[in-house]
Amino acid sequence: MSEATSESSGTGSRLSWAAADSWTMTRRELAHWARQPVQVVVGLVFPVMMLLMFSYLIGGGQGVAGDFKAYLLPGMLTMTMAFGLEATMLAVTQDLGKGVIDRFRSMPMNQGAVLVGRSVADMLQSVVGLVVMVAVGYAIGWRWHEGLASFLGAMGLLLLLRFAMLWVGIHLAMVAGKPELVQAVQILVWPVSFLSNAIASPESMPSWLGTIVEWNPMSATATAVRALFGNPGAGGDSWAATHAELLAVAWPVVLIAVFFPLAVKRFRDLSR
């Protein structure tokens, strides 16, 4: 009677269905982009506008020694990754609100595929976002001075931060379940971003504030990326400032270790 029972229950076939289902869910997100090209373009243009604004309009850079553009671009790349939190939250909240998740959950598909599809799509979007930002940066005179391996290492650290934000976003969206919280987060990412060394150097701030800024996960990523690009850094001789590479890995790993299981549990608990 049913057409959907053709799969065997072997581990191998289960894994290949999990992969197939995840790809189907990823394709769903890609189809969304194709249907809403304007939204995709706006999403890409927004960080570019911020980059140009800070380069040419606001400019100067509080307490930054040397070329501000070289300092700014890694900061803006980091901010773009952190702002991905909103995009993930918005998408998950919308899905939960629409009831389409209920259909997925009532189907004999791999249940993890819903989350895997979300992550793959968000990561792809972030890669595209990074490429656009780097290209624009190059066009306005930013350069990196180390080899390709360092360049790719920097991209890897940025995407690691984005991956951490992804799971924080999925978890928060499921905790809130409502678009109102997304708005609150959209507002909060601004002060949190400015409380990093993305745009200004902590050297220019009161020392207690500088300490908070140096420990911000975004500062660690931005500092490590600056070093890998061979761009001027934020300076500072605190433990956090001198161990930025370590923290740029440790912070996201800790966030993922905390929020990945929480998000998965939340998803499972939809049936409670």
Binding site: S2, E7, V100, S106, P108
Partner: protein, 315 residues
């Protein structure tokens, strides 16, 4: 009765949300190939019951088998046998109707080619072939509902759950959904349908379970339920609203007055005798009747009667 005759077996289902006992010992059996109506007011536990039966929600207590398979321990097997039409349209609004059906087909593991073919087949069957490439957010409510129904039929499920399938639809949309359900039942699908509309249960369901406060308070066919509140009724429509109260005092049994419709309605036992007596009594009192009708009680009356009894028991 051998178990394979029963498409759904529900035993002692309980579910609590905080201080609210949504389900309080729900029992139900649904025979294969029939339409089971679940009738109840808002908050009676209809949706909670459907969500448990369709694997979306775990019960606190109790057991559900769909096609002889336990929904808790073998959820995936149940999922491959059922279709679900929830209260909210469970489709992706940004995608086209065809993209939705194809995606769901792939997720039912039909493979790309069969998923595409099945999508086209269902679009044609539900009159969506022309609009299959439009985004769902441009669909009317009725179209959206039909697409949702098409999505729940992709795997040719043996058991279909419909949770308030016509809530929020205009009369035309409602007719479209009703016709679709009727044609499915012809194909041997077991349908469990929740509704607040008595007319809908009357039209579609073979068996009706009336639920209130999380348990079944009455069960049977529409006719059986109607005879439960004491047989036939006589409706008298008057010219003059002012005479309603007087007319009510002349009629026998359990009398209901409806001022908006200028009508008194009374329960009767002997049809012909009651009609003669009513006409005579009204004439003697000089009350002019515009219309006099003998009829079976409506499910509305049964429903009001049953839920009122229940409130009295609870009080």
């Amino acid at each position: 009765m051998p178990d394979h005759d029963l498409a759904i077996v529900v035993e002692g289902l309980r579910k609590r949300y905080g201080s609210k006992q949504a389900l309080d010992g729900l029992d139900l059996t649904v025979r294969a190939g029939t339409v089971q109506g679940i009738l109840g007011p808002n908050g009676a536990g209809k949706t909670t019951a459907v969500r448990i039966m369709s694997t979306l929600l775990r019960p606190d207590e109790g057991r559900v088998e769909v096609g002889g398979v336990d929904v808790r321990t073998r959820a995936d097997e149940v999922r491959s046998r059922i279709g679900l039409l929830g209260q909210n349209a469970a489709v992706d609004e940004e995608l086209s109707g065809r993209q939705n059906l194809e995606m769901f087909g792939r997720l039912y593991h039909l493979g790309a080619r069969r998923a595409g073919a099945r999508a086209d087949e269902l679009l044609a069957r539900f009159g969506l072939a022309d609009t299959g490439n439009k985004a769902v957010k441009q669909y009317s409510g009725g179209m959206r509902r039909r697409l949702d129904l098409a999505a729940s039929l992709i795997s040719r499920p043996g058991v279909l759950f419909l949770d308030e399938p016509t809530t929020g639809l205009d009369p035309r949309g409602r007719m479209e959904v009703w016709n679709a359900v009727r044609s499915l039942v012809g194909g041997g699908t077991t349908v469990l349908l929740t509704t607040q509309y008595l007319e809908e249960a009357d039209q579609l369901a073979d068996q009706i379970a009336v639920i209130d406060h999380g348990k079944v308070i009455a069960e049977g066919t529409a006719d059986e339920l109607k005879s439960k509140i004491g047989g036939d009724r006589i409706d008298v429509v008057l010219h003059d609203v002012a005479q309603l109260a007087r007319a009510a005092s002349l009629l026998p049994g359990d009398v209901v007055v409806d001022e908006d419709r200028r009508m008194v309605s009374a329960s009767i036992t002997d049809r012909m005798a009651a009609l003669t007596e009513a006409v005579r009594a009204l004439e003697a009192a000089g009350i002019e009747a515009e219309d006099i009708v003998l009829r079976r009680p409506t499910l509305d009356e049964v429903f009001m009667h049953l839920t009122r009894d229940d409130a009295e028991v609870a009080a």
